[in-house]
Structure formats: C-alpha cells, structure tokens
Amino acid sequence: MTSVCLYFEVHQPIRLNRFSVFHIGNNNNTVSSYFDSQLNQEIFTKVSKKCYLPTNNLLLDLINKYDGKFRISFSLTGTFVEYCNQYIPEVIDSFKDLFKTGAVDMIEETYYHSLSSLYDELDEFEEQVKMHSRMIKKLFNYKPRIFRNTEAIYDNRIAKKVAEMGYKGIITEGTEKILQWRSPNFLYKSTNANIKVLLRNYTLSDDVGFRFSARLWPGHPLTADKYARWMAQSEGDVVNLFMDYETFGEHHWIETGIFDFLKHFPGKVFEHDHMDFVTVSEAVERYESVGEIDVPWAISWADADRDVSTWLGNDMQIACFNELKNIGRKMKEKRNKEMLDTWRRLQTSDHLYYVSTKGMEDGDVHKYFSPYDGPYDGFINYMNILQDLKQKL
C-alpha cells in the first residue's frame, strides 16, 4: 500500500503600517498603529474569495463523494484564525464543517507562525504552541498529535522539545541534506527523541505548489491522471504532499485549471488499487520508521537553500531577530497583554522573510509575497517599529 498524505498550511501574516523614524517614540501612536488593518482585511477578503471558501467547498464535496476515503490535514495559524474571526467568520465555519466529516486532521504549530524555535531558550516557543493548542481545542474540540513548525523548520533540539511536549509526529522537509540516498516516502525517527518524522516529498509537492502553471516546465500541463500515475510509480509507504493552501486559486488562479485538477485528483488516485489517502495522524499510526535522521543544523522547506537563511540570511535580518528576541524577558515582566500580543505578532516569520536579500529565483518568490519595495524598505519599516516598541517598554 502507498498512502498519499495531503497537508495544507493555512497562514496569513499581519502586515505592518508604514512607520518612519519620525514616528519612533511618539506617544500618540498606540501599538495597534503598527498594523495595517485595512491592507490586511483587503488581502484576507481577496484570498478568502479566491481560495479559502471555494477550496473548502470543493474539498467538502470530494470528501462526501468518496465517503470519507479522501483524507486531508490542515494547519491553521493563529493569525489566520484571528482574521477569520474579525472579517469573515464563515471561513472558519467551513473549516469546522470539513473537520466534522472525520476525514480531516488538524496539525499543531506556533500560534504566531514564528521563529521562536530558534531562540536560546524554548519557553516562548512552548507558550506559543500551547496558545495554538488552546485555539484548536476551542474551535474543534480536538488535540492535535502531529506538529509542524513554522515553514517546517527542524533540528534535533526542536524534535526533542516537541517530543517532550507529547506529540507523536513532526513534519519537515525531505531534503537530501538529511536523507542522502534515502527516500522521503518513508517515516523516520529523530536521532535523539522518540518522535516519528514525516518528510515532504518536495519534487511532487512543488510540481503542484510551484510548477503547476509554469508553461515552460516539461510536465505542463499537469493533469490529475498524470500526477496520480507519478505517485503510483513512487516507492515507499507514504507520499507526503505538503503545500501552501493558497496554491489553490491564489498562487495559481482559477484560470490555470487548478480547481479542476484538484477535483479529479482523488478519483485518479483511487484508480490505482494499491493507493489510498491518510491524514498525518494516521500515517504515523500506520507506518513504522525505517531509520533515523540526524539534523544538528536547522533545515526548513523554504527557498532553494532549505535552511533558515530565508529569515536569518543577512545582517539586517539577524539584527531584527535579536532585537525582538532580546526584549522578551522585559516584555513578559511588564504583564501588559496588549504589549505582549504586539511583541508576538511581530514575531511572525513573514516580517523577516520580507527582509531577505537572496537573489535569483528565490528573490522573485520573495518579491511576489512582499508588501514592500524590496528588502531594505522592509527592514527600515520593521526596525523602526521594533525601536518604538522598545521605547514603549
């Protein structure tokens, strides 16, 4: 049996207002003025209409059509859920409907989609995971068993911590850096902790996530039939397809045929007798690990480098990261909820992603997502806000 494990990351960052050096230390600015609620609402509404609502509808139809044999997993970030509550509650309702089918699993992560797993101490990380856990409990009355860190950032230390927190499985990137000759289509075990590791099959995942509408790609046009055949030919226990949920209707517009592709995908998989779908929890229950992975230096699924250089690749990013991290203790002593929330919202990894100066293809991807005219503007704005927050302490 080869199982297809389909998992979607559902995330929207909280974008920042333009904040110049002249605003720093100006007491008329409250911390809420850091966030560009108008832009955030605009983008969230747009993406909900193009992606979240239609894709959720389609998935619900498909689950019903195949009697719950089509199975999927989601991770919803806290910032995403806040947008739902604030702007379009029916988006979260539609996720609840999906969950009620019993064919949908929820994955844990940090509430703020942050880089807190890279701090010197892991207490902030643990708190943010617990916040996420409470949120999922409240929304779905469910306790996730599988963890996926921000953009699949993973190392031995993180695996150990997550295992200690009681999770049975953790998701990361199936990069050759850690696998060498081995296949991502099996489960592995962390070298230093009792936790199973699910590895993203990045080739097959990116065929849809990145390449689906790339006309110059030899695989274009990608049909459900062709894609299911590629998977059927793969060896191993489980093919892990992990991608941004915005793949559907946002990164690839409806005109590219992405929804038709998704619509026909489960049926085409079921045409192969040796294949089925599993959620991330089921994958971990059903399959045994075939080996260990040892990851002393953090990896991720971001960019071509598959490490944390996406967020900490230049001096500007490191300066912001340290600035934010170093005010943590004082922030907690202050016991001001609004300040603490703000500090945590600023930890969302996207703020550092916008400051990346990587060139070539990755740079183009960064540009696509960035609300700024380049990384330097991103740095100035973010750093100005951090300076203001520091002064408010």
């Binding site: 110049s20 050096v21 002249f22 230049n314 001096d315 500007m316 490191i318 300066a319 100066t357 060139g359 740079g363 005219d373 380049g374 330097y376 503007d377 740095f379 100035i380 750093m383 100005n384």
Partner: protein
C-alpha cells in the same frame, strides 16, 4: 569596423554623465577591435588616448560651457552659437570611409544628420536625456525638441539609456519603438574610502537634478542625526538659490557647497560619503548612482531613475517625498546592518554593469545597421 563617434565632452573635461559614458564606451569598443575616431570640441585640457585604434580628434577652437542648458541669456546665446559652430566644423572635419556614425544627444545631432545625408553612412544616435528631462518636465523648449525629433527620425537606430527614456522617445517624439534599443550604462568602480557621516548630493545644480529636495530632507534629518554633514557637490544655475534656501532652512552650518570638483575630488567624496542621494526630477539613467554604489556608498534614488529599472540594491523614493527621503537617510546613518548590507550587496551587483557589456550590445546595434 570603422566608427566615427561625435561627442561633446570627454575626461578630463567633464560636465556630466555624457563624458563618463563616452570614455567608457570608446575604450571598451576599442578593446573589442573597433577602429574608432572620437570627435570632440577643443578644450583647455588636452585629451589623449593610449589605445592605437582609438583616436581622439579635437575640433576647432570652440569654447564650451560646463552644462548643456544655460539659463543666463547671454551665456545661452554664446552656448548655442558654439554648438552650431562645432556641428558645422565637424561636418568638414569628418573625412574618409566610416561604417557607422554615432552621435550623442542634441548637441551633436545636426552634424550626424548632415553627414548621413552627405555620405549615406548609417547613423546611430544615443539618447542620454531629452529636453523633457532637462527641463524637469516643466517648460520644455520647443526649439530643442524639434532638433531632437529630427535626429531621432533620421537616425537608423536609436540607443536609449533606459526603458524609461525609450518610453519618452516613443510617446513624446512619436518614434517607432522597434527602432530603439535599450542599453544601460556601466561604471568603472571607484575605491571605497574611510566613511564619514556625510550625506552627498553630486550633480549639476539644475532644476532636473532636484538638489532643493535634498536640502529639504537635510533639514528634516538635522535634529535626528546632529553629526551628519550634507555635501552639495557640483555647480549650475541653481547654486545661488540653493545657498539661500539653506540659509532660510537654518541648515547652512550643516551644508557644504563644494562647487565644481576635480575628478580626483569626486572619487574621494564618493569614497568617504555614507549616503548618496539622487533626488532627480527626471533621470534617464543616473550614472552617478552607479559610481556612488561602486564606492560602497548606499544610494537613495528617485523612483523613476533609469538605472533602478535594472538595479535592485538601492533605496527608492519619490523625489518630492522629502519625509521618506529623510526617513531613509536617518535609517542608513542609524542602522549599521542596513548600511553594511546595502553597501556590500550594491558593490556585488555593480560588477554586472561593465563597459564591455555595453560595448557588446553597442556592437550588436552597429551590426544591425551596416
């Protein structure tokens, strides 16, 4: 291949980017084996070439003025007369068989047109700026526009220094876009010096270059970065007005007007400055930005500046948005990681802008008309 290039300025005589461009393009074309005769007006300096297949030919006794759009009426009269005289002299002086005649801007167009008509030699015209740019899009002078249009129409091929300029040529002069190639300028890197807290403006002090916006931004920076000094390097008809503007703003103790600098001084000031600002109202390319960046000086440039179409590692502002300009100046002075990263990444990217590349693309244009 034999090319007659008709120029206006050439180092050590230099009023602006045109001299820098001609220096770079002639030397790199010569290195690629082109037999190149570069014609220019006779100046007080003697211009020499150290390459056997590059001849610098000085023409006449024409006295030339440091910038190409004088506002002083008397000076302007003499200037236009000089341009005409030079163009007439060139027509008599350019002898022999050339494969291509290559002119630059309106200053040398008349000669190019006449030579093309007389000898049938293909004419290539590089547009470094148009009358619209030089007038800051305020009161363009029809007399220049007519000369420019005639040259553009009669040229076999036009080289624009940016896509921005190509659009102007198409939209304002009605030229067929298929006839226009875009070739961005390049730079000979300048060594980085020991950085001081200097914020630099360098360019002709004309309406086009927007020095007044630089001063307004300086006024806003002053209280936040009291150690910063602002250098306005260059000269032009706006100088008196800028000096009184600095007095009015109460920043005359922070601003240094250097007047015209020598080549050596220019290199020095690029090297030791911490920030370069190019607030041009209109900037077809902006070669000075590449020079500053090559010296490790992070640059804040007008959003419309031609070079920034093809360049990532710089900061961009609307020239009129002096709040944002000041925000960026202060950020560069205050946040060392920003300064360091822009400086390093800028120098790395500048390596892609070589005159050899410009020569290769120019040769492509020549081969298309021969």
């Amino acid at each position: 291949m034999r090319v007659a290039m008709i120029g206006w300025e050439y180092p050590p005589f230099k009023a602006g980017g045109l001299a820098t461009h001609c220096y770079g393009i002639t030397r790199s074309l010569a290195d690629k084996g082109v037999q190149l005769d570069f014609y220019m007006p006779k100046t007080k300096h003697t211009t020499v070439s150290d390459k056997p297949n590059l001849n610098i030919i000085e023409v006449g006794e024409t006295e030339i003025y440091p910038y190409d759009r004088p506002y002083n009426k008397e000076l302007a009269g003499k200037f236009y007369e000089a341009v005409y005289r030079y163009n007439d002299l060139i027509v008599g002086k350019v002898q022999g068989k050339y494969d291509v005649i290559h002119c630059h801007d309106w200053l040398t167009m008349k000669a190019g047109i006449t030579l093309k008509e007389k000898t049938g030699t293909p004419l290539v015209l590089t547009i470094h700026s148009t009358e619209y740019d030089r007038s800051g899009w305020l009161y363009p002078n029809q007399w220049f526009i007519d000369i420019e249009r005639e040259g553009m129409e009669k040229a076999d091929r036009i080289i624009a220094v940016s896509h921005f300029t190509k659009r102007v040529i198409v939209e304002k002069y009605g030229i067929n876009p298929d006839k226009i190639s875009v070739i961005h300028n390049a730079v000979y890197p300048i060594p980085e010096g020991h950085k001081k807290e200097i914020v630099l403006f360098l360019g002709r002090l004309t309406i086009q270059k927007g020095a007044e916006f630089f001063l307004r931004a300086a006024h806003k920076v002053k209280d936040y970065e009291p150690d910063a000094r602002f250098v306005v390097a260059g000269t032009g008809d706006m100088l008196p007005r800028l000096i009184s503007q600095a007095l009015d703003l109460g920043i005359s103790d922070k601003v240094i007007f250097t007047g015209r600098l020598t080549e050596e001084e220019v290199r020095h000031i690029y090297g030791i400055s911490s920030v370069y600002v190019m607030p041009s109202v209109s900037e077809p390319f902006g070669i000075t930005a590449l020079e500053a960046i090559s010296a490790g000086t992070p640059t804040i440039a007008s959003k419309t500046a031609g070079f920034s179409e093809a360049f990532n590692n710089c900061l961009r502002v609307d020239f009129w948005d002096t709040d944002e300009m000041a925000n960026k100046i202060i950020s560069l002075l205050r946040y060392k990681p920003l300064h360091r990263t822009l400086s390093r990444e800028g120098k790395r990217e500048i390596e892609l802008f070589t005159w050899y590349q410009v020569a290769d693309k120019t040769l492509g244009v020549y081969n298309g008309v021969i």
